[in-house]
C-alpha cells in the first residue's frame, strides 16, 4: 500500500516558526516530525510515499532526498497554490490506480505510538474506508464524528460551537481511503469535508479508535506538548559511547548523541535529549523535557527547562530558558532570561493579530524564530514571540506583544 502525506500547509498559527519552515520540519524529542511519520509508515509496512509539499518545499525535499535511511521511496508533489487539503490531495491523484486503497496522513499530527499500524489493522477487518478517530481537549477545532453500529461513522459535524456541548471523537488526520475518493473530492470541488460526507452517504467510512495520545501541532506551544509526549515514551537513558562524562549527574532517561561535549558539573535531569555535536558547558542544569538540537552550544551555568532548542543554536552563559522554543541558528546572548509565568500566576495569553489566544498553560516562556539574534542581558516576557531573523540589542528587555 502507498501513503499520501500532506505537508504543504503554511501552519497558520505557527508563527514565528512558520515563516521559515513547514510544520513537519520542527524537531521534537530530537527528531523532525516528518522523520517520525516516515518511520511510522515504514514500520507499518508502507514503502512508497507521495509527499505533497507547498510551503517552503525545499526544506522537505532537501531533508528527505535523495535516499531516506529507511529505504522508503518518496515522491514529491508540488501543491503550488496553498488552497486546502482537498485540492492538495487532487494534485496527487495520478499517483494512484483505480481499486487501490492508500493511507492518507496529515503531516502535522503526532501520536505517541504507531497510529498507522493500528488503522491498517482496523482497515483489514472489513477492507472498507477507515478513519482514525481520537479524543482531544479541543474537539471544537476538528470534525466531530458520530458512530453507529459496527464502528460506521454516521455523521460528521465540522468544528461545532463550544455551546453545542459536543465532546465527540474527532477525525485524527489519518485515513485509509480508496482511489475512488478522488472522484468524491472532484465532485465537491476539493472540499474535504463534503467529500467525506459523500463517502459516508454513498459508500461507508468506518472508524478506528486511537486510544493513545494524539496531538495536532497548530500553535508554537504545541511543540512543547509534542516534545513531552515523545519523551514520555522514553524508559531509559542512552549515552553514545563517544561521550565522555566526568562529574556529571544524570537522572532519568537522558539521551546523549554522538560527539556531544559535556563539561564537568553538568546536571542532566531526564527525560532530556542532547543532540550530536552539541556542547553543554560547565555547571549547566538541564531540567526535564529539554531537547537540545544538533551542534548547539549551551554556555556555562545556563538553566534549561521544558524547552526545545533547534540545531545550531547558541544559548549564552548564565541564561535561563524555560517553557520556550528556540529556532535554528539562534544566538542568545549571555545572561538572558525567559520569564515563564505571569505575576499573578494566571494563564498566559498570547496576542495573535487582534485576538488573544489562550494557550491553556500557566507557564509559558518565549518563542524565538530561526536565525534571531538576542543581545546579552535581555529579559523576554512570558509569551514573547521573536520573529525569525530579528536582532534585539544588548540589555533591552523584550516586551511580549499583548
Amino acid at each position: 500500500m502507498k501513503a499520501l502525506l500532506l505537508a504543504g500547509g503554511r501552519g497558520a498559527h505557527m508563527a514565528p516558526f512558520s515563516s521559515t519552515r513547514p510544520n513537519p520540519m520542527i524537531p521534537v524529542g530530537g527528531r523532525y516530525v516528518i522523520d517520525r511519520t516516515v518511520s511510522m509508515l515504514y514500520e507499518a509496512g508502507i514503502n512508497s510515499m507521495k509527499l505533497v509539499v507547498g510551503h517552503r518545499p525545499q526544506m522537505l525535499t532537501k531533508h528527505l532526498s535523495p535516499e531516506h535511511p529507511t529505504g522508503m521511496a518518496i515522491h514529491f508533489i508540488d501543491q503550488g497554490k496553498q488552497n486546502g487539503i482537498g485540492k492538495a490531495m487532487l494534485k496527487a491523484r495520478d499517483q494512484f490506480s483505480p481499486g487501490e486503497h492508500f493511507v492518507l496522513v496529515y503531516a502535522d499530527t503526532l501520536t505517541a505510538s504507531n497510529i498507522i499500524s493500528v488503522i491498517l489493522q482496523s482497515f483489514s477487518l472489513h477492507n472498507e474506508p477507515t478513519a482514525a478517530i481520537c479524543l482531544t481537549r479541543s474537539g471544537e477545532k476538528y470534525g466531530n464524528v458520530y458512530l453507529g453500529k459496527d464502528m460506521k461513522i454516521t455523521k460528521i459535524i465540522e468544528k461545532p460551537k463550544l455551546k453545542a456541548g459536543l465532546g465527540n471523537y474527532v477525525l485524527a488526520g489519518v485515513f485509509v481511503l480508496p482511489e475512488a475518493f478522488f472522484g468524491f473530492l472532484e465532485k465537491s470541488k476539493g472540499n474535504m469535508e463534503a467529500a467525506l460526507k459523500h463517502l459516508i452517504k454513498k459508500q461507508s467510512l468506518r472508524a478506528s479508535i486511537w486510544g493513545d495520545d494524539w496531538l495536532d501541532m497548530a500553535y508554537p506551544w504545541d511543540i512543547l506538548k509534542a516534545n513531552q509526549m515523545v519523551m514520555d515514551q522514553w524508559k531509559e537513558a542512552a549515552i553514545h559511547q563517544s561521550v565522555e562524562l566526568s562529574n556529571t549527574k544524570i537522572k532519568g532517561p537522558v539521551r546523549i548523541c554522538e560527539g556531544a561535549d559535556i563539561r564537568a558539573g553538568a546536571v542532566l535531569e531526564g527525560p532530556a535529549y542532547i543532540g550530536p555535536g552539541s556542547f553543554i558547558g560547565h555547571n549547566v542544569l538541564l531540567r526535564p523535557y529539554t531537547s537540545v538540537g544538533a551542534n548547539s552550544v549551551i554556555g556555562h551555568g545556563a538553566e534549561l527547562k521544558n524547552c526545545v532548542i533547534f540545531p545550531e543554536t547558541v544559548v549564552g552563559r548564565l541564561s535561563f530558558i524555560g517553557d520556550s522554543v528556540v529556532g535554528e541558528g539562534v544566538d542568545i546572548g549571555a545572561g538572558t532570561m525567559t520569564i515563564n509565568r505571569t505575576i499573578d500566576k494566571k494563564e498566559v495569553k498570547i496576542k495573535e493579530g487582534r485576538t488573544l489566544v489562550r494557550a491553556g498553560l500557566n507557564k509559558l516562556g518565549a518563542f524565538i524564530g530561526d536565525g534571531a539574534v538576542i543581545g546579552a542581558s535581555n529579559i523576554l516576557d512570558a509569551g514573547s514571540m521573536v520573529q525569525a531573523g530579528k536582532k534585539i540589542p544588548h540589555n533591552c528587555s523584550y516586551p511580549a506583544k499583548r
Binding site: 499500524s117 491498517l120 472489513h126 479524543l135 474537539g139 458512530l147 465532546g167 486510544g211 493513545d212
Partner: protein, 607 residues
C-alpha cells in the same frame, strides 16, 4: 456470534484447524466441532459442548487426520448448548457437512418443506436446514456447485457458510451475506475464516468476500462468484500485517471500550428476551414468602440495584446478600426463592450459595450469560442474557443487561402486586426502549468531556462515589470499576452517609463523584444536592453527573457532565455508562492493563 474456519491442503491439517477455532473462541466458546474429509470416504465429524481444549480432550482431536476440513466455535442463539446442536451439521446421507455463522430467518418454512420430503433433523438449529437443502438440490442437479447456489438463493437472513462434501473431497464451498468471511492464501494450503485470526499464523495473504458472494476454495486455487448471477468476480489479494487480537477488538483499542459500545445492542437483546421467561420468574418471586438475590462483585451491586427497583416499583424488598456471605447470613427454606446473577455462570461463590439454597429445598433461578454453564444447568428457572461473549475481565455490558432484565421482572411483579398499573408498566418498558439511543448519544457526544476530566484528575488516588436511592448501588458499582481497571482507590456510599464520618476525609487529594437524579424526582434530587453542598463547603473537588434541568440555578459541582433529559426510570443506567467511561479513561491515562487487570480473572471459580 460464532466463528467458522476451514483449510484445504494436500497434507494433514487437523492440528492447524483446531488452532484456527481456538483463535476464534472469542466469537463463541460454548461448543465447537470440526469436520474432516478424507477422499470419498464418509466425512468425520467431531463435536461437543465446551471450549476447544475441553472438546479436544473429550473427542480426541489430536487423533484426527485429514487434509481438508471445516470447523466451528459456537455461541448459542437458536437451540440449547448440546452436542447435537454443535456444528458442523451433516446431511441425512452423510455426504455434506456444514458450519454457519448468522441467523436463517426463514428456517422454519424450509424445515417444514424438507420434513415433508423425508429429511430427518438431528438438531434444533437453523443451520441444519441448509445442509439438507443442499443435499436435496444435489439429488436433482447432480452438481455440488449448482446445489450449493440454489440452496443459498432460498435463504433469508444472515450467513457465513462453509460446506464440505465427499462428492468433491478437494473443495470447500463458502459464502457470505452480512456475516464476515475471508479467504487466506498460503503456500501449501488455502484457508477460510470469520476473520483473519483463523489463519494469520499461516499466511498473511487474504481475499475478502463481499455480501452475496460465494467461493470455491481448493489447496491451490480459489474463485469468487456472485450468488445471484453466477458471474465471476476478480478481487485483488491483500497482505495482512496484524496480530489476531487486534482483529477481535474490531477497531477498538480495548475490549472494555468495545463492550461499552455494544451496550445499546445489548439492551435491545435484553428487551427481546421472551416475556414468558420473565413472567415465569416474576410469578416465583411473588409466590414465595421470601426472595433472595445474590451475586458477588459487580453482580452484587446489580442485585442491590434490583432491590431498589423492587422496592420502588413492585412494593417488595428482596434480601440481597453477597454470595460469598450467603451461607453465613441467609435463612433459606422451601418457601424461599433464590435468584443468582453471574455472567459466566461459573462463579464459585455464587454456585456455592445456590447449592446451599438447593440443599435447603429453595426454588432457584439465575440470570446468566453463558448458556450451558454450571449455573445455567443447575437452577430451576433460567434467564439467559443474550449479551454475547464478554472478554474484558471488567464487566460492563453483561452487568447492564442483568439490570435491564431485573427491571423487566420488577415491572411484571409490580403489575401482579398492583403496585403499578399495566399502563404504567408499558410506559416504563417503552422508556427502557429509549435506552439504546440515549446511550449512543452519551457515547458519541460526552466521551470527550469525560476523557478530559479523567486526564486532568488521573493523579488523584482516592475517590468517593456518592448517590442516594437507586443511585447508591450505581455509585458502588462505579467505584468498583475505578478500583478494578484503574487501580485507584474508590469508595461507593450513600451520599446521606457521608456526614456520619467519611466527610472528615474531604480535602484536595480526595475527589468525589455524585450521581444526581433528574429534577422530576424532586425529593431525591434535593437531598442529593444538599450532600453536594456539604462537599463543596469543605473545598473538595466534586464531579456531578446530572441531567439537563430547566432551572437556571447554578449547581454545587466543580465540574459536571450534563446528560440530555431522560425519564427517571432509566436515568441511573445512563449515569452508570458515564462512570464506566470515567474509569476507562482514567485507566488508559494511567496506562493500565485494561482488559486483563492485575490479580483479576474473568470468572472466579475458586473460593
Amino acid at each position: 456470534m460464532c466463528g467458522i474456519a476451514g483449510i484445504a491442503s494436500l497434507e494433514d491439517i487437523s492440528e492447524r484447524l483446531v488452532g484456527s477455532i481456538r483463535n476464534l473462541e472469542y466469537r463463541g466458546y460454548d461448543s465447537c466441532g470440526i469436520a474432516l474429509v478424507n477422499g470419498s470416504k464418509a466425512i468425520r465429524v467431531s463435536k461437543n459442548i465446551g471450549t476447544v481444549d475441553e472438546v479436544g480432550a473429550k473427542e480426541n482431536f489430536s487423533k484426527l487426520k485429514g487434509s481438508l476440513g471445516i470447523a466451528h466455535a459456537r455461541w448459542a442463539t437458536h437451540g440449547k448448548v448440546t452436542k447435537a446442536n454443535a456444528h458442523p451439521h451433516t446431511s441425512c446421507g452423510k455426504g455434506f457437512s456444514i458450519t454457519h455463522n448468522g441467523i436463517i430467518s426463514n428456517y422454519t418454512n424450509i424445515k417444514a418443506g424438507l420434513l415433508k420430503l423425508g429429511h430427518k433433523f438431528s438438531s434444533e438449529t437453523d443451520t441444519e436446514v441448509i445442509v439438507h437443502l443442499v443435499e436435496e438440490y444435489y439429488k436433482k442437479l447432480k452438481s455440488v456447485e449448482q446445489a450449493f447456489v440454489s440452496a443459498l438463493r432460498d435463504l433469508d437472513g444472515s450467513f457465513a457458510i462453509a460446506l464440505v462434501t465427499k462428492h468433491e473431497p478437494g473443495r470447500i464451498y463458502c459464502a457470505r451475506f452480512e456475516s464476515p468471511l475471508l479467504i487466506g492464501l498460503g503456500d501449501d494450503a488455502n484457508y477460510i475464516g470469520s476473520d483473519f485470526s483463523a489463519f494469520i499464523q499461516h499466511t498473511k495473504n487474504a481475499v475478502f468476500l463481499e455480501d452475496g458472494e460465494y467461493s470455491i476454495v481448493t489447496h491451490d486455487s480459489h474463485c469468487i462468484k456472485r450468488i445471484s448471477t453466477g458471474e465471476t468476480v476478480s478481487r485483488p489479494v491483500q497482505e495482512l500485517k496484524w496480530d489476531p487480537e487486534m482483529a477481535q477488538k474490531g477497531g477498538f483499542p480495548h475490549y472494555m471500550l468495545k463492550e461499552i459500545y455494544e451496550q445499546p445492542q445489548i439492551v435491545q437483546n435484553a428487551l427481546d428476551i421472551d416475556r414468558k421467561l420473565i413472567l415465569g420468574f416474576a410469578k416465583i418471586a411473588l409466590e414465595k414468602s421470601r426472595l433472595y438475590i445474590t451475586g458477588v462483585g459487580t453482580t452484587f451491586y446489580v442485585a442491590q440495584l434490583g432491590q431498589y427497583y423492587f422496592s420502588q416499583y413492585a412494593g417488595l424488598t428482596p434480601m440481597v446478600i453477597s454470595s460469598d456471605e450467603f451461607r453465613f447470613l441467609a435463612q433459606v427454606d422451601k418457601n424461599c426463592a433464590v435468584l443468582a446473577l453471574s455472567q459466566s455462570g461459573e462463579t464459585y461463590d455464587t454456585l456455592t450459595a445456590l447449592r446451599h439454597a438447593k440443599s435447603m429445598k429453595a426454588t432457584t433461578a439465575a440470570i446468566v450469560n453463558v448458556m450451558g454453564s454450571s449455573m445455567a444447568r443447575m437452577v430451576d428457572h433460567l434467564i439467559l442474557q443474550q449479551s454475547g461473549p464478554e472478554i474484558c475481565v471488567i464487566s460492563t455490558k453483561a452487568a447492564l443487561s442483568q439490570m435491564i432484565i431485573l427491571a423487566r421482572v420488577v415491572l411484571e411483579v409490580g403489575v401482579m402486586n398492583k403496585r403499578i398499573t399495566l399502563k404504567q408498566a408499558k410506559t416504563f418498558e417503552k422508556e427502557i426502549g429509549q435506552l439504546p439511543g440515549a446511550i449512543e448519544k452519551i457515547l458519541n457526544e460526552k466521551s470527550g468531556f469525560i476523557h478530559s476530566i479523567a486526564k486532568t484528575h488521573s493523579k488523584i488516588r482516592h475517590w468517593l462515589f456518592l448517590g442516594r436511592g437507586r443511585y447508591y448501588p450505581i455509585a458502588r458499582e462505579s467505584a468498583l470499576k475505578m478500583k478494578e481497571v484503574a487501580y485507584v482507590h474508590a469508595e461507593g456510599m450513600p451520599s446521606g452517609f457521608l456526614k456520619h464520618g467519611t466527610i472528615a476525609l474531604i480535602d484536595d487529594r480526595l475527589n468525589s463523584v455524585i450521581f444526581t437524579p433528574p429534577e422530576e424526582e424532586k425529593q431525591l434530587y434535593e437531598l442529593t444536592l444538599s450532600s453536594a453542598e456539604e462537599i463543596k463547603a469543605r473545598g473538595g473537588y466534586l464531579l456531578g453527573i446530572t441531567f439537563k434541568s430547566r432551572s437556571k440555578e447554578p449547581l454545587p459541582f466543580t465540574d459536571q457532565i450534563v446528560l440530555p433529559e431522560a425519564p427517571p426510570f432509566i436515568a441511573p443506567f445512563l449515569e452508570m455508562v458515564v462512570a464506566q467511561l470515567l474509569s476507562y479513561f482514567t485507566a488508559t491515562t494511567l496506562k493500565r492493563n485494561i482488559d486483563r487487570p492485575r490479580s483479576l480473572a474473568k470468572s472466579v471459580t475458586v473460593a
